[in-house]
């Protein structure tokens, strides 16, 4: 840990990058006002803040994508104007977007050198394949990625692709590396690997700006935390001051009590289970299949590592994936579920993991999205009842406090948390008996997270049964009345509230039977 110690000392050199009194306005909205930021070589700075706090605007200004209205940017003391991405790159600032900007259909090597290939033959632009391959090996070694440069990018895992992006930035001699939510689609192991690489880069003198909602990771890797709130600086913490609760307070501006679930929240009754699954198997299943029960008013957490088959289980339950064998009972009645429509008719609802792909029609309005699974009650003789659709949409916006300028706004333009609320309401309007939530708070900021948690407590008090899949152990520990743990498409155990701990879950999640 000698590196960490040296990084703790206050830096004395001129800042590598300095931003002063930066402001940016989009139409009527002030995205940033008078923000300052100093970055030094060889440190990891975490930039935290709720959605809409101005993180991405600040980042885009540094990356030359957005030009600020006011303020000054200095690189090693020299004032500069960042007016295009390529100019920022030339100055050593590299931005890694949340949605990776790689071409899946090309090789690793072609991606590393895209736009800056080594060529011969002048205007013929013939690729120097061997030279680029050799250089690729060096770059890949630097980020500790052990794949062939000739491998097609589509064969890599999300974590490996993330490392390819980093290697690409390094090849451009990036001195400031800005990463936006780099771990949002990574498995735990890949996240650990990434954090390790970030520490190595710090040692090589690179400044890493780490933007993440995952405060545990920030705790683990950051030398300094800079908070933004409503487009203004909200404070700063040194290594020694960094802790979870203080970061949350800095982001939200008040203390947030993520209410711990207790017996009073659980609407559990003596009634029979709302859902009983017996030995459910799909094409990828191993062993005898998964059995479980969800009682009314209960939150059953489903834990496991990425790839444990939790989403596939939920999809089979909901009729998206063909069921190979096994039975599903709703309130004691055998349910014949062959397609999602059957599941919906039986009173089930699924809030999917990938809300942009499966949860919402991004180009469609909030109202249209909410109406979609509710069209049966919003029509007369197959003709749409527009006034009722509007009424329902307003109900949703009010009751879940969806922050939007109107129900006609396309869902794709909302922040992550508000998108998730739209998905939730489109199902809640049907008053489901069983709600399946797949990663309900992924990419959602702390404020919205609390609202979603409160909503879940509320629903269970009314007797709804919830099956919640989550990779966030904290969330599982926090919310579950009971936890089912999966490993390689098998259920490896079930834990009651009293038995719950990170260790007991991880033991089962890695496959050791308890």
């Amino acid at each position: 840990m000698t590196v960490a110690t040296s990084a703790m000392e206050p830096p004395v050199q001129t800042p590598l990058l300095e931003v002063e009194r930066i402001s940016k306005r989009y139409g009527g909205a002030q995205a940033l006002s008078g923000v300052g930021l100093r970055l030094y070589a060889g440190e990891v700075v975490a930039l935290i803040g709720e959605n809409g706090a101005g993180k991405s605007t600040l980042m885009k200004i540094l990356g030359g994508i957005v030009i600020p209205d006011e303020g000054e940017i200095r690189i090693v003391g020299q004032p500069v104007r960042l007016s295009s991405p390529s100019q920022a790159m030339d100055l050593g600032i590299s931005l890694i977007h949340q949605e990776l900007n790689l071409a899946d259909n090309l090789s690793v090597e072609a991606n590393l050198f895209l736009g800056r290939e080594l060529t011969w033959g002048g205007p013929l632009g013939l690729a120097r394949g061997k030279a680029m391959e050799a250089k690729s090996r060096e770059l890949l070694a630097r980020v500790g990625l052990n794949v062939s440069p000739l491998e097609r990018l589509s064969n890599l895992t999300p974590g490996q692709k993330q490392l390819v992006e980093i290697a690409r930035s390094l090849s451009m001699d990036a001195r400031v590396l800005i990463m936006d939510e780099p771990t949002s689609s990574l498995a735990q192991k890949e996240t650990d690997r990434l954090l390790e690489v970030i520490r190595e880069l710090r040692q090589q003198g690179v400044c890493v700006v780490y933007i993440s909602h995952r405060l545990r990771e920030v705790e683990a890797v950051a030398d300094r935390v800079v908070g933004l709130r409503d487009g203004k600086n909200a404070g700063e913490m040194t290594r020694a001051q960094i802790n979870y609760a203080a970061m949350v307070q800095m982001m939200v501006g008040r203390e947030v009590d993520l209410h711990q679930r207790n017996a009073a929240d659980s609407g559990a009754s003596d009634r029979g289970p709302v859902l009983r699954v017996e030995k459910l198997r799909h094409a990828l299943s191993r062993g005898e299949g998964v059995s479980l029960e969800v009682r009314p008013g209960e939150i059953v957490g489903m834990a496991g590592l990425v790839g444990a088959g939790r989403t596939e289980f939920a999809e089979t339950l909901f009729g998206i994936r063909p069921r190979v064998s096994g039975q599903v009972y709703l309130e004691g009645q055998l349910g014949k579920i062959q397609r999602p429509a059957d599941a919906i008719a039986l009173g089930m609802a699924l809030v999917p993991e990938d809300r942009r792909q499966h949860g919402l029609i991004l180009a469609e309005s909030i109202g249209g999205n909410i109406a979609l699974p509710n069209l049966d009650t919003h029509q007369v003789a197959r003709l749409l009842r527009f006034s009722k659709i509007r009424h329902t949409a307003h109900q949703g916006v009010t009751s879940l406090r969806i922050r939007t300028t109107g129900i006609a706004k396309p869902a794709g333009q909302l922040s992550g948390g508000n998108q998730q609320k739209v998905v939730l309401y489109k199902w809640l309007h049907r008053q489901p008996k069983l709600l399946i939530l797949d990663e309900p708070t992924r990419g959602v900021d702390v404020g919205a997270k609390k609202e979603i948690y409160d909503l879940m407590h509320d629903l269970t008090r009314k007797g709804v049964g919830i099956l919640m899949i989550s990779s966030d152990l904290e969330e599982i520990l926090h919310l579950s009345d009971r936890v089912v743990v999966m490993h390689e498409h098998q259920k490896t155990g079930e834990l009651t509230r009293a038995q719950l701990s990170e260790e007991s879950i991880m033991r089962l999640a890695t496959g050791s039977q308890s």
């Binding site: 991405p85 390529s86 071409a103 259909n105 072609a110 895209l114 736009g115 690729a127 394949g129 000739l150």
Partner: protein, 356 residues
Amino acid sequence: MSKGESSNMFRTFFSNPTVGRILGVFLLVLVLYGLMVGIEENARSLENHQNIARRIGEWGILTLGAAFVIITGGIDLSIGSVVCLSAVSFGILLENGANPVVAALIVLAGAGLIGLFHGFLITRLNLQPFVVTLCGLFIYRGLAQFLSLIDFKRLLDPALRGTGRILRDSSRDVGVGGRGDLGWFFWLQKGDFLGVPMPMWIFGILALIAAIFLHASVYGRYLFALGHNEQAARYAGVHTNRYKVLAYFLCSLLAGLGGILFLMKINSASPSNAGNWFELYAITGAVLGGTSLRGGEGTIIGILLGTAVLPLLKTLVIFAGIPSDMEFSAIGLALLLGTLADELLRRHSEKARKGA
């Protein structure tokens, strides 16, 4: 190179989805060829092989252009009409005494301009490729018909001016003006070298250049990258619009060449029929050869094989004694079966891979 590495390369090669397609279309070509020479003795003649090769050359040139556009994620539906307009313009130039080389260059320049126009509309004005080239399909054919109406002799010769109407009453087939001095130039279409018809040679050479362009130069990489993820390419500093325009330019340029060869084949071109369906032949060849209509996938070797399918099928239909009125149905059905087999094969191999 270590052994592990070469096996890795082997794996990389076969995990590339286009490779499976190439093997599939290779099999298809083998089967079609086998059937053809199997059923009919006449099919084994050198002449038949030459006819097929000539047709592969003629259509293959168009397929190369279509493939460039499809790789960028676009489409060009105007190919057949550009062929027609080029053939008609070339014929009119020859009828009026132009030097064939000069005439060909003029036609190629015009075709190239059409491609630049498409590219401009698609990149600058953000119009959809399908719509732009669909409009082109109508416009260029109409233009060809109009050109054939004009009596250029009356229009250009001062002595004849005012002796009659400049516009004819109906469109006509354009010829070469009965010129006897064109043989050396027309050899490029009608001749052969080492027994291989010239169009096949031209196609082969162009395919070789295209292979280098697409697979060994950075421009090819840019086309593939922008076809799959345009934003990634743009963020990497690639001038994506420039390369999109280039694809449409090359496509129309090659269609222009196709038009020149079309006229030279039978010394005549009908404005209403010349090049009919050719865009669909070109797209079919490219797609059969593994060029994905979603963009970002495709190989020249696949396109070479894919191009061979339709000429073989057409010949096979004739030799199999299927009435010519049913030719299109037979071809469509055969393609559908081939696609089905390909899909089933793909599912099977995917299952096998997952099971492993």
